[in-house]
């Protein structure tokens, strides 16, 4: 089997179009009854994996998601788009509320070892917590090279040529396989799952595991103190002239 075995992370998050509301107890945001979908950067990661398979660079795509039962819907979409198999790591309730990037990274690292993965592709960050850590931590745990914020990906012999979007511009690197890649926005434009493929995907297998099965301790390393709305923008006031402006600025102590 010359093709790469690819592992793709598919996180279930609140849909990007939803207006997020903070819970009254300030412990988090309202998720009950709110529309969820696959993290957009994970959709891009999955699309890249499917394109690699279409070019016969990849031979098998395994999609993974950590969370409650509803994650299986996310995985079904991944299977419809083109993943071959899916793994659902069941994490529920309190444990799920407290699930943090380090724990997820350990889970993915363990799976990568078990599945003899050659390439892990994750989204660069999730749109709910914006941590942007998981990919990097997986690389650290496994001791594999990482190519993060990828906007272009090419395989050449035993290497990957990756273009990274960084603050200074574009960076071109070469990484040995096995490796971790995290997908940035311009890596590709994901396809839509087609309706017949969604129905056909029902026959593709989803395996269920728990973090315990993988020997992973999911206990949190930091705790969230409170979640709040950004302060309401307050009305300004008009000033008659520059002197009044300076007087007002002095009054609030900024000048």
């Amino acid at each position: 089997m010359s093709g790469l075995r690819v592992l793709v992370g598919c996180k279930r998050v609140i849909d990007y179009a939803v207006k997020v509301r903070v819970r009254p107890d300030k412990t988090g945001v309202v998720t009950e009854g709110v529309k969820h979908s696959m993290n957009p950067f994970d959709e891009i990661a999955l699309e890249e994996a499917v394109r690699l398979k279409e070019k016969s660079v990849a031979s098998e795509i395994v999609a993974v998601s950590c969370g409650p039962k509803q994650c299986q819907e996310t995985l079904r979409t991944a299977l419809a788009v083109g993943a071959d198999r899916a793994i659902h790591v069941t994490v529920e309730g309190e444990e799920y509320e407290q699930l943090q990037p380090l724990a997820v990274a350990k889970i993915i690292a363990k799976l990568a070892q078990q599945e003899k993965t050659d390439l892990v592709i994750l989204g660069k960050q999730a749109i709910d917590d914006d941590s942007a850590q998981t990919g990097q931590m997986v690389a650290g745990i496994l001791g594999w090279p990482q190519a993060t914020f990828a906007s272009k990906l090419l395989k050449e012999d035993g290497y990957l040529k990756v273009t990274r979007e960084v603050d200074g511009g574009l960076e071109h690197i070469k990484v040995k396989l096995p490796a971790i890649v995290t997908a940035d926005l311009r890596l590709n434009e994901p396809r839509y799952a087609t309706l017949p493929n969604i129905m056909k995907a029902k026959k593709k297998p989803i395996t269920t595991l728990t973090p315990k099965d993988l020997g992973v301790d999911t206990s949190p390393r930091f705790s969230v103190l409170s979640v709040e709305d950004p302060p309401q923008r307050e009305a300004g006031s008009k000033v008659a002239n520059v002197d009044e402006l300076i007087a007002k600025l002095k009054a609030v102590g900024v000048v």
Binding site: S37, A80, L195, P196, I198, M199, K202
Partner: protein
Amino acid sequence: VLHVCVSMCVCMCAHVCVLHVCVHVCGHMCVHSYAVLNEEQKENMRLLIEPTYKFFEEVNDAARNDVEEQVPPEIMKSLQELGAFGLQVPIELGGVGLTNTQYARLVEVVGGYDLAVGIALGAHQSIGFKGITLFGTKEQREKYLPQLASGEKIAAFCLTESSSGSDASSIRSKAILSDDGKHYILNGSKIWISNGGIAEVMTVFAQTPGKDAKTGEVKDKISAFIVERGFGGVTSGPPEKKMGIKASNTAEVFYDNVHIPVQNLLGKEGEGFKVAMNILNNGRFGMAAALSGTMKKLIERAVQHVTTRVQFGNKLEVYGDVQEKLARMAMMQYVTESIAYLLSGNMDRGCTEFQLEAAISKVYASEAAWEVVDECIQLHGGMGFMKAAGLERVMRDMRIFRIFEGSNDILRLFVSLTGLQYAGSHLRALERDLKGFKMDVLMSEGVKRTKRMVGARIVPSIAGQVHADLASQAEQLSSALGDFGASCESLLLTHRKDIINQQFLLKRLSTACIDLYGMAAVLSRASKALSKGVPTAAHEKALTVTFCQQAEERIRRNLGSLRSASHLKVDASMATIAKEICKHGGAVPTHPLD
């Protein structure tokens, strides 16, 4: 006077699915529980809605399609890739294998975004090749369905001709068996065929001469055929310029000595009319679902406007006039949605007798949607009239829904006559049994007695099925049902067979029947919502109670008018006025200034 014990049995149950009045000794009523999808079906539903909704939200551009008067080739391609052309074709033949309810849910999404694309898709699969699905032989299905499901080939339903619209059985296209018995030679032309200009596979209806089994005489009867454009002799005209659904292709189709292989006969020779009616009947449920989606989006737009626009120092939403409009729009949408899914659920349960409900759903949905778009534009004021707001396009698209797929006028007659048919067959039976007695006198006595008896009999049984909070609405429904049954019998007694010509009366009877079905549908749905304790149960109860109150008033008025002497005088007067207008060639009165 003989005491006639006529009791009304009004039965609306899953397997009979019809409002019918029949003569039984004991009355009984069963309102089945509202349609429910199991967990797996619900999950499938969510999975399928997502890409559909995304496609219409992000990729399809309804305004552009309207301006260009076509579905752009790249959108057609995307729709093919999405799998939108074979939603109900079995998976083994390349389709998505959806049930009626799942299909309805998807077209609800489409209806909210682009009715023209909805019609292009519906004309293809809801009626275009439905005949092959329903009546096709194994060979026909395996030959045609895969390419139709993939959208590689488009289908069209070809029935209407210039001299035959509502009067479908009067079509003149002819298909004559060749001497060698291997082909039917088809000649004729069809008008206003959706997808007519682009279809490769058509379901065509034509007269075939056949020997009557009993009399031996040769008579023309309609047969249905699967005709491929590739057979040669098939041409189509340019796309018609229309008021709305402009992106949907509508064209004339001409058949000039087209050789149809005999294997392409669809169903039995001479049974084409039944095939046609079954296809139309089977596809009708999609319309109510699609329009309930359109109405939902229109209500959203209306609310967006009235909660932001300020006039006279207040947001429009506080004004009573605005509230009345919004409430009416919401009720009409709720009723339409309830009817649509009640119908699709019945069809999925294996109900074979749903033509009455399908007709009711189409009439109600199309008229309600027209009112909703009209009021939505009104609430927007001048802005509603502007192209940029995107509402005038929806109104233009909407107008055809009251006309095609069985015009509402014809369907209303069908609704009334079906209801009367049951009353009639049982009255006939009663008449036979009571030969010699003065039927009219007996029946009018009996009718009076019946209403009282029916009221007492039916209420406990409906009340048992409906949530306690809606008990008085259930009472309203049963009382109205009794009134309806009595009206049917009274009409038959007065007019006998001539009732079929009494269109003034039949129209009002059908409106009452539609309101009754609407009441039953919302009571069923709201009961389920209350029992399950869904968060919106209180609001749904309010919609239901309000609708039932207004529906009951309308029913009483309509049924009352059937017997009121003054109203009957008005009917006669209107008929006379109409005659004079036609004689005169236009409006008759002398100009006030002359």
